[in-house]
Symmetry: C3
Subunit: 338 residues, 3 copies
Amino acid sequence: MKLSQIAQSLNGEMRGNDIEISGVSNLDVQSEGTIGYAENKNTLTVMSRSPVSALILPTTIEYDGKPVISVDNPKLAFSRVLEMFSPYEPYEAKTYPNTYIATTAKLGKNVTVMPFACIMDGAVIGDDTLIYPHVFIGKNVKIGKKCVLKSGVKIDDLTEVGNNVIIHHNTVLGGDGFGYVQEGGRNLKVTQIGTISIGDHVEIGACVAIDRATVGKTEIGCGVKIDNLVQIGHNCKIGDNSILVSQVGIAGSSVLGKNCILAGQVGVADHVVMGDNVVILAQAGVEKRKIDSNSVLLGTPARDAILTRRIFSAEEKLPEIIKTLREIKEKNGNAEKK
Amino acid sequence: MKLSQIAQSLNGEMRGNDIEISGVSNLDVQSEGTIGYAENKNTLTVMSRSPVSALILPTTIEYDGKPVISVDNPKLAFSRVLEMFSPYEPYEAKTYPNTYIATTAKLGKNVTVMPFACIMDGAVIGDDTLIYPHVFIGKNVKIGKKCVLKSGVKIDDLTEVGNNVIIHHNTVLGGDGFGYVQEGGRNLKVTQIGTISIGDHVEIGACVAIDRATVGKTEIGCGVKIDNLVQIGHNCKIGDNSILVSQVGIAGSSVLGKNCILAGQVGVADHVVMGDNVVILAQAGVEKRKIDSNSVLLGTPARDAILTRRIFSAEEKLPEIIKTLREIKEKNGNAEKK
Amino acid sequence: MKLSQIAQSLNGEMRGNDIEISGVSNLDVQSEGTIGYAENKNTLTVMSRSPVSALILPTTIEYDGKPVISVDNPKLAFSRVLEMFSPYEPYEAKTYPNTYIATTAKLGKNVTVMPFACIMDGAVIGDDTLIYPHVFIGKNVKIGKKCVLKSGVKIDDLTEVGNNVIIHHNTVLGGDGFGYVQEGGRNLKVTQIGTISIGDHVEIGACVAIDRATVGKTEIGCGVKIDNLVQIGHNCKIGDNSILVSQVGIAGSSVLGKNCILAGQVGVADHVVMGDNVVILAQAGVEKRKIDSNSVLLGTPARDAILTRRIFSAEEKLPEIIKTLREIKEKNGNAEKK
């Protein structure tokens, strides 16, 4: 593919020689003949010294070296270039043999159902949705249009999934909420009669578990992105465009605002209410019931990240502090004796 | 449904108007025409101010407002009311097409096997058990009566599951224990020939992994409740009625007593032995080999919760402590110079 | 089985009576008539007092009690004895009914495909590989020889798996890397066109998620052993013979050297580069970008384990430190007043 062709499809401005581009490079993998991108001067320094043959750069950066395509959002443009060079071929849209589709299930136009998928009574599947092998869609589930459910996804009864949702392999929507009541030393199950609602443009990773509500709905807002192995308890509400990184766990009834980011392995206690744009850094444990909008938290227990960084730094001096204190006490003791 | 009907089926005493009840409410979701519950004065204050039209209360609380049903255990009674209003319809008990059942497998009366479930040689399934699609039941597995195995549950050979057990989607029983031996710089697998035994009335969440023992059995006691994404290593023993919250990980050969509670994301090292009624609070890391009964632990490393709370609180003063110490040293230095 | 027979097949030297051995024992489970092993004097003390009837010991230990088999590596020898007494019977090597195998897929000799497994176009499966029920093998996937893919394993398109690889139930290889770009307040997906490569002699536990690379490959080296519920992000490289214990999470583009050990629930940030033989202790959180070979780290943030142990120990004195400081300040204040 010619660089000029790529520039054209990105609506970008090309500078330099119109070379042939045979693939892509990024900060992880670089090779000659490929195109990469940089968002700022630091990554530009790395990429300009690499064997990469052309670069996508923001219009705001001046650069005089390899051939360049200037665009407003280089990462977004690069994602489009990735699509151009993708070796993945789409699955043929057809109904495969060996499926189980209940007679009362309603499939939209152009729905693909791959082998051993199982769609139960009353389920409704929107147009152009692709259902991989071994997917289970329970009774009266509603799936929107243009969704992709990868192999082994399990969606229990009455769950509602929006449009343009991608769910990766072996993820589970609709396990029972985890609720028990003590009676005579035994844990008796509290019946869970609520459901789950997933907004549009949501992506959910592999091996994720989202529980149905006790009463009402567990709600995942539009544009939410969830990484692998995440746990979301019953009656949680995740605000639009929030990001939950891998192995995050959120206990029951907690509410996140919009555009929140929970980094890897973060834990959130039950009944926590967060505002918008909250950032919780990796491995933090949130137990405070109310988190203000725009907070940045770190540590267990999760505290203001700047304070926690100070504590982390001070901790290293703890053994020394104890030694100093002992010396002062001894000196004072000696002084008193005098 | 009339409030009096509900009171009757709960064996509770009704006070106030015999109103029509159309649904349920709890602390998460409240609406008019519904019935809720409160266990103590705090939740009663919230619920009495809510639009909820009737309340289930303990006989010990006096309350004069909305219509009331008095019972001994309101949460338990509420769970029964949830059942009455459940929108979930049971799956039809029948043998579906497209199953694989080995000829030497023995199914009890009234067993339901849904499409694409797979039951191998010598497996025994008790009466009234419900097996969802894509379940795998290995050779010589024994499943008790009235169990529910949700879609994608995988039970490897020789595992024994008791009666009235619920296992949620995509959970795995019987992966090999994680054991290797070093030889010439390589990790060679230690053969794992033990099995797993699951007691009666156990509930296991989605995407849980319980490993088979190296020798003997990994044992999950009766009434144990396990949340999503929990890891239980080979040869662990979990005492009756213990509760393991989501993302808990227990390394090999650890033993929990009865009625223990491990909160979310707790980690337990290998060969730990806990007494009964131990509570480990969220994200704690237990490495001490012996934990006394009735301990309440918090933090990494897990220590007495009261001590850990004191440490958490003192930590925040660390930067200030360092400053104070510096001042004292300077002052002492000046004093000495004088 | 006679003890002498066992000694012979282990190439070990027998001492004492040639008794009949009916099973195996280890530190978890001990009974009469069985054979156990000890690697050092501590475990020998335990095992010699147990009802176990014979012991496998290293040639370096002198012991005069129960009958003994002397070998170079007792744990390795014991693993072979475990095989001898295994109650597990292999699955019959044949092609079962109810499978989906695309006509362009190429299966080697003696490949077993169990019911409801699904092999898509262009996939290549090596000789003697065993594919359990509900496995999904995507387009153009390559699986080596003598592999075992347990039930529910999902391998997305273009993934390459070496020889002698074992993958436990419900593990996912090839979910999309977790990458988004902000545009107008929304998170847009960055297309992930890379793949995954798994070396020879790798074992992967249950419910593990390994993501495909954005560009290039996510690489798991030869001899790597991965426990249950582990997360490995896009473009990670795990060096040969490294061990990842349960619930470890490694963010995108991080690189581990050879023979690293990450204990349970460890988290590693993105773009971390570790040398060889690094040990990260349980629950630690690694955020430093460069970790030297042979480091042993503990804590969040992960620091040298000896330093962290000192901090853990000093932490307990924090409340006391604050008290002492207050006393000193008061005394100094009083002294000044004088």
